[in-house]
Symmetry: C2
Subunit: 247 residues, 2 copies
Amino acid sequence: MQRYFLENTEIINGYVEIKGGDFHHIKNVMRMEKGDEVYLCIASSTYLASLDRFNSESVIFKILEKQEKSSEMPYEVTIAQGLVRREKKEEVIRRITELGAYLYIPVAMERSIVKIKGEEKLERQKTIIKEASEQSHRDKKMEITEPISFKEFLKLKKDYDLCLYAYEESGRSNNYNLKKYLKDFKKEEKKRIIALVGPEGGFSPNEVKLLDENGFKAVGLGPRILRTETAPLYLMSAISYELELED
Amino acid sequence: MQRYFLENTEIINGYVEIKGGDFHHIKNVMRMEKGDEVYLCIASSTYLASLDRFNSESVIFKILEKQEKSSEMPYEVTIAQGLVRREKKEEVIRRITELGAYLYIPVAMERSIVKIKGEEKLERQKTIIKEASEQSHRDKKMEITEPISFKEFLKLKKDYDLCLYAYEESGRSNNYNLKKYLKDFKKEEKKRIIALVGPEGGFSPNEVKLLDENGFKAVGLGPRILRTETAPLYLMSAISYELELED
């Protein structure tokens, strides 16, 4: 069933009015009619709703029931990544949205080929996230920030319960502590994880030093070398597997 | 360090002769010189080798040592997938090669939008696999087959120790047995896993019935709906996480 994420929208007396792009999509693309049902995601809750009537510039839905079962991870997982090329970044945000990530933070790092530009295409990225959120049946959209500096990234340590970085040298030296960290995290009923993935060129020695000094833990993702756009998918899948699936 | 997968190549008295595309790459793209070192992957083993000399149509490397540490999974994981569009298929084979898959099998299924064509672009796909194998530092390349029918797929059951299919209805109904199946598989020292992912349109009711009757086990990959090109990455990551990382 079709799913729409509505912002700045209120339920008034059991009815919701939808305008703009979603109105157009419902009317002209989906060609919906009175009685057709959709899911509406409003303020992190999902409602089953039925099309009541069209106005000239909007459509009115009647709320039928609130969905009590959430498809959201009961944890907030943030993926941070060295700045990478646009196509890679878009692929990563699309996939980690499907995989349940809470937030994506691009980080300017020494070996990033891409530099922070005046105008980041944040609008386009938000559209990708909206579509991926709808298709994967999430109750809320992943968030994304403007690129931040590595120095700013290090300061995020205090906001998270588990702070990781995916380091290929850890994989080579059999440092596979990811499992241990996630099991402890689950047992201690922690809430927030952040994991940093390097850009195409990897981490500089200085960055590794600073990560270690600031309490970020290096984890290996197996003995093979993963590309920067694959590592976030491994991390999100492993986190879902460990924290969401039944033992 | 650069890594080359050599086929139909023998080590003769500690030397290896490389011709064709890899010769061209070494000479004209990498512009290597005498003494430069590479990894050569020959018959599932990896060797450190040093450039000895160029002939007019080939280059000779001297084998220095065999690498004893393998980056291969100690299990054979086969990903089967309903036929999907070329770009999606190429993305999947690139990523699951990185993630350590042993074999990829495309399967013609009822809801596949793509049909088996006379000429599958298997050569192009093999090139993608070769590149991804080299970049991810594998010792051997993932294998890939021509598309097979669903009936042929069902017969593969007998060749595997653990036979799974990723079924979104299982995710919705909290059937998260993947973890249990993988833990048992590891404990019982089994070797071979096959997992089927549906095409864009999912499984037909008849296919689900046949999979169940033939002993394939439905597994959910969390409460969100994953696209057909994301599910194989979740499966490979979860399998690596459970079977390769230390407890």
